[in-house]
Subunit: 228 residues, 2 copies
DNA sequence: TAGATTGTTAATCGATTAACAATC
DNA sequence: TAGATTGTTAATCGATTAACAATC
């Protein structure tokens, strides 16, 4: 494995490569060239080779890449050959949504504890898991060797929740709260703003609509001209 | 508004600008310069001005930007001055998670119908909404003037679901299924791969871990040298 | 050996940042 | 008017693509 800092653009493509490699394995495909992979995944063959060579020469000249071999390498690069223990903070609608979502994971990432500040929710169960008192978070993270904290609190509580998680020793934070938070440099941070994604969708819908309107106008112009 | 194609990088920053502008409005701030905004949001002042000027000159020389004015402009650009009607496909764990999530929206985006293929789920209620028969999707979309389809089906059904939504006339698709789908050019597509995001988090956690290990090694080397 | 395909260097493209003239 | 800050052009930086020598 090489040394220089890998750009985020590359890292964000790795999980996608992985998904396609898993599908190929399921289909029993044993090897693939960068060109074939390009046709499948939509990146240029050049980019695929460039991306992979950030981490090492996984291919073989004149042959291509072993599907299983490459998939294993990417798993190792992403750290998916390990198990991660997580806690989830917040039991409101967002928290319940994300808890539900984590249930779709087969393995690798497990929610071990679910915490909430609001007294009336503490002690109740949801989706078969008891909701714990936020006050006990730090000792829980330490005792249960938690790696990742998922923040699904409201805007106001998110930074405080992150601070406490970092203090307790998590190595990564997955933030769904609708606010940007800061963490110390030794903690990894990944942010998901679902509403930002929906707003981008709205933009693109309106963009298409405008383009169509403009085209229609151009057509009318042409008709006008012809009638003159 | 100008003409040339706006890059996705710019579009994906707009919702973020908007969030900060809403917060500023709440705090009663009336104007902001690109430099002040830069300190707050973390983009360079130059980038902020460059981004905004893709859409028009919203500022005033020597003064800055009106917080409310700019926020309204961005709302209009993103199309958030409209209401969107949505259907959700899939009532498994993922579908339930996303349905729950949509309940956190105050307004602007409303799930009007929830559909599922599996006969044993059809007719039941979840989160206070009845789950409808997928067979009735097309007529529902037409009758209810649905704008957006949210795909939360399993991998295998996602493309077929997208085809049917497009046929029925939706203008946009928000895809949460763990597979890439294709849509015709007049339909906008926005993809959310939550697991990809989690995998990127795992990468960054391991990256930090490796760096720390390497630093520890360097320290040992130095101690070794000293002891010689 | 010849053909294929990688790994890697060089060229291009696009996005970000810097600089500054325009103007409120 | 002088000071401030935008809008916009030019310079830089980084990421993608093209080309090709290395090699299986």
């Amino acid at each position: 494995m090489k040394n220089a800092k890998i750009s985020n653009a590359v890292i964000n493509r790795l999980p996608r490569y992985r998904r396609y490699l898993i599908e190929l394995q399921k289909k029993g495909v044993e090897k693939i060239s960068s060109k074939e992979f390009s046709n499948l995944i939509g990146y240029t063959a050049s980019q695929i080779r460039q991306d992979l060579n950030n981490f090492g020469g996984f291919g073989q000249q004149g042959y291509g890449y072993s599907v299983k071999g490459l998939c294993d390498e990417i798993n190792a690069i992403l750290g998916l050959d390990q198990e991660y223990r997580m806690v989830l903070l917040g039991a409101g609608n967002l928290g319940q949504a994300i808890y539900k979502y984590t249930k779709t994971f087969k393995r690798g990432f497990k929610v071990c504890g679910w915490f909430e500040v609001k007294k009336d929710l503490i002690g109740t169960s949801s989706e078969g898991m008891e909701i714990l008192d936020y006050e006990g978070l730090v000792s829980f993270v330490e005792k249960e060797k938690i790696d990742i904290g998922i923040i699904c609190t409201d805007r106001e509580s998110a930074q405080e929740a992150a601070d406490r998680l970092c203090f307790a020793g998590v190595k990564g934070i997955w933030n769904f709260a609708r606010v940007d938070i800061e963490v110390p440099p030794h903690v990894a941070l990944e942010v998901v703003h679902l509403s930002d994604s929906l707003h981008a969708l709205a933009y693109h819908m309106n963009d298409i609509k405008k383009k169509e309107a403009k085209e229609a106008e151009t057509r009318e112009h042409r008709i006008d001209k012809r009638q003159k």
